[in-house]
Symmetry: C2
Subunit: 305 residues, 2 copies
C-alpha cells in the first residue's frame, strides 16, 4: 500500500482557539517533541491579525526556532498577499493560503468573497519567491457552518481558477465543520482529481467533531489521497461548541495506518507521549481515542463480544 504523509497542524489549528497564551518556549518544546516523533511537515502558526488571533502572535519567533530543528518543514498559514510577504520576510519557505468555498464563511474569515480571495491568491503567488512551496487550503469544501452542505460543483468551480494559477500547489480540501461523510469525501476527491489532472498533490483536512474523521481519511486514502492534516491530542475544538472536538488526532491517524500496514514514518509511542502533554495545555479541548486507549493497562471484559 502507498505510504502517507501526516501533516501536523496542531500548533496552528489546534492552538488558535485556545484562550490562555501558550508561552513561546512551550510551543517550541512541543514542536521538538513532535519532530522527535517523526513529524516532518508541521503547520507551526499563522501570520494573521494579532487582535483577531492573539495566540498566533509569536509565529515569527516559532518559525525562527524551527531553523534549529533538522528535517522539519514548517508551513505557515496566510490569508492575504500582505501576510504572505510578512511570512516570507520572516523566513517562511512554505506557505498555506486559505480561502473558503462558501461566501458566508469566507466573509466571516477574511471579509471577502471567495473570488476576491482567489485574486488575492494570484497576487500572493506573484509576490513571493518562485521557489516558495504553496499549499492551498480550501475551507468549507464539503460543508459550511452558515450555508450547510456545499454542492460539489461549487467547490469544483472555484478550483478552476485556483488550479490554473499554480498547478503544482498542494490542494487541501478541508472539512471545516466535520460534517462531511465518507461518501461525500470520496466523491469530491474523485471528481476533483478527474477534473484537474494537472494538479499534482491533493490533501484532506479532516475534523472529528461528529466522529467521522478517520472514516473520511480512509475514504480519501482509497481515492488515492496520501497527505492528511491532523492535530496531536486532537486539539482544535471550537470554544463555541463545548464538548465538540476538533481536528482528527495525529495519533489516531498514525494508529489506523499502522494497523493497515501503511507507512507513516511516525513513532506511535512518542506521539502518544506528546499527545498526553498536548492534552494538558490549559484551555485546550483535546480529542481522539488512541491516547486514552493506549494509556491504559489493557484488561479484558468477559463474557463479551
Amino acid at each position: 500500500m502507498s505510504a502517507v504523509e501526516i501533516v501536523e497542524v496542531g500548533p496552528r489549528d489546534g492552538y488558535q482557539g485556545i484562550g490562555p497564551f501558550i508561552p513561546t518556549e512551550r510551543k517550541i518544546a512541543l514542536l521538538e517533541q513532535l519532530a522527535a516523533a517523526g513529524l516532518k511537515r508541521i503547520e507551526i502558526g499563522s501570520f494573521v491579525s494579532a487582535s483577531a488571533l492573539p495566540q498566533m502572535r509569536d509565529t515569527a519567533d516559532v518559525l525562527a526556532a524551527c531553523a534549529r530543528m533538522p528535517g522539519v518543514d514548517p508551513q505557515v498559514l496566510v490569508p492575504s498577499e500582505r501576510r504572505g510577504r510578512d511570512a516570507v520576510a520572516a523566513g517562511a519557505r512554505h506557505l498555506v493560503f486559505v480561502l473558503s468555498v462558501s461566501e458566508a464563511h469566507n466573509r466571516n474569515n477574511v471579509r471577502r468573497a471567495p473570488d476576491e480571495s482567489a485574486g488575492e491568491y494570484e497576487r500572493l503567488l506573484a509576490a513571493v519567491p518562485a521557489d516558495t512551496r504553496i499549499r492551498l487550503d480550501l475551507a468549507t469544501a464539503f460543508d459550511c457552518p452558515f450555508e450547510g452542505r456545499i454542492p460539489e460543483d461549487k467547490a469544483l468551480a472555484l478550483l478552476e481558477r485556483l488550479v490554473a494559477a499554480k498547478p503544482d500547489a498542494e490542494i487541501c480540501l478541508c472539512d471545516t465543520t466535520g460534517r462531511a461523510d465518507p461518501a461525500h469525501v470520496a466523491s469530491l476527491f474523485a471528481r476533483a482529481r478527474a477534473a484537474f489532472p494537472q494538479a499534482e498533490a491533493w490533501a484532506l483536512h479532516a475534523h472529528d467533531t461528529y466522529g467521522l474523521g478517520l472514516a473520511n481519511v480512509h475514504a480519501a486514502y482509497r481515492e488515492g489521497v496520501t497527505v492528511f492534516d491532523a492535530s496531536f491530542a486532537g486539539l482544535g475544538g471550537c470554544p463555541f461548541a463545548p464538548g465538540a472536538t476538533g481536528n482528527v488526532a495525529t495519533e489516531d491517524l498514525a494508529w489506523m495506518f499502522a494497523r493497515m500496514g501503511v507507512a507513516t514514518g511516525l513513532d506511535l509511542d512518542a506521539l502518544v507521549a506528546v499527545a498526553r502533554d498536548g492534552a494538558e495545555i490549559p484551555g485546550g479541548l483535546p480529542g481522539g481515542r488512541v491516547r486514552a486507549a493506549l494509556s491504559t493497562g489493557g484488561g479484558v471484559c468477559a463474557p463479551t463480544t
Copy 2:
C-alpha cells in the same frame, strides 16, 4: 444506496460491564425510548451466569416487558445450549449465540475451545424450535486481547462448520477489541462472503476503542454488509481499561448514514435524547461524538480551516 439496519446492543453489551445494578424499570423505560427512536431489533440482555454478570440477572423480566412494545424484535445472547433453552422458555424468539475465534478468548468467556463451542451451537440449534431466529456472533474475528491479530484463515476455518450448521443464521463478525482497521474489515468480509455464498446475512459488531468504529462500519458497508451493531451513548467501555470507550455509538452510526443519504429508519433527535439519558447511567462509560456535537448550540470559530 442500500438501506441499513442498526441493531441496538447497548442494553446487553453496554450494560453488562456496569457495576451498579440498573433497576429493571429503568431498563424497560430506556427500551421504550429506544423503540420510540425507531430501533426495532434490540439486544435486550443475555442468559448467562448471574454471578458472572449480575447486571444481566433480570433479562427474563426485561424480555417479558418487550411483549408490550409493538414492533420491537428483542434478541438475547446465550453462550450455551442450556442457556438457549432457558431463553426460549422465557419467551425468546431470537437468540444470539456467541463464540470466539481465538481459543484464549473463548476459554476466558465460556471455558471451552472454539470447536467445543461450535458443537454447543449445533446442540443449541437442535434444541430450540425450528423457527427460532438465530444470530451467530463471532467474537475476536479480527483481533484478540490475548492473542493479538487473528489470521483471516482462522476465522474462515471456524465458519466452515458454523455456516454448514445453519446457513440462514445471521453471522456477525465482532471486532471485540476495537483494533480492527478498515482494510482488515473489508478483506475479511470479502473473503467470508465469497467463501460462504450460502450464508444469507452478515453483520458487523464494531467497537470504537481506538476511534475506528465508523471507519470500520463504512468499510463493511462498502463490502455490502447492511446490518450493524451499535450501543446508544456508545456504552460498553471496559471497566478494566479506563478512558477506553466501547461499542460504536448508535447515534454516530445514524448520523453517518443520514449524511450519506442511506436510510436507517431512525429519528436522530430522539436517539440523541435517549443517548443523553444513557450517558447518565451511574457506572457507565459513555462514548461517541454526535451526542456532544449536537448538544451544543453550534457557533463558528474563525479564521479556521
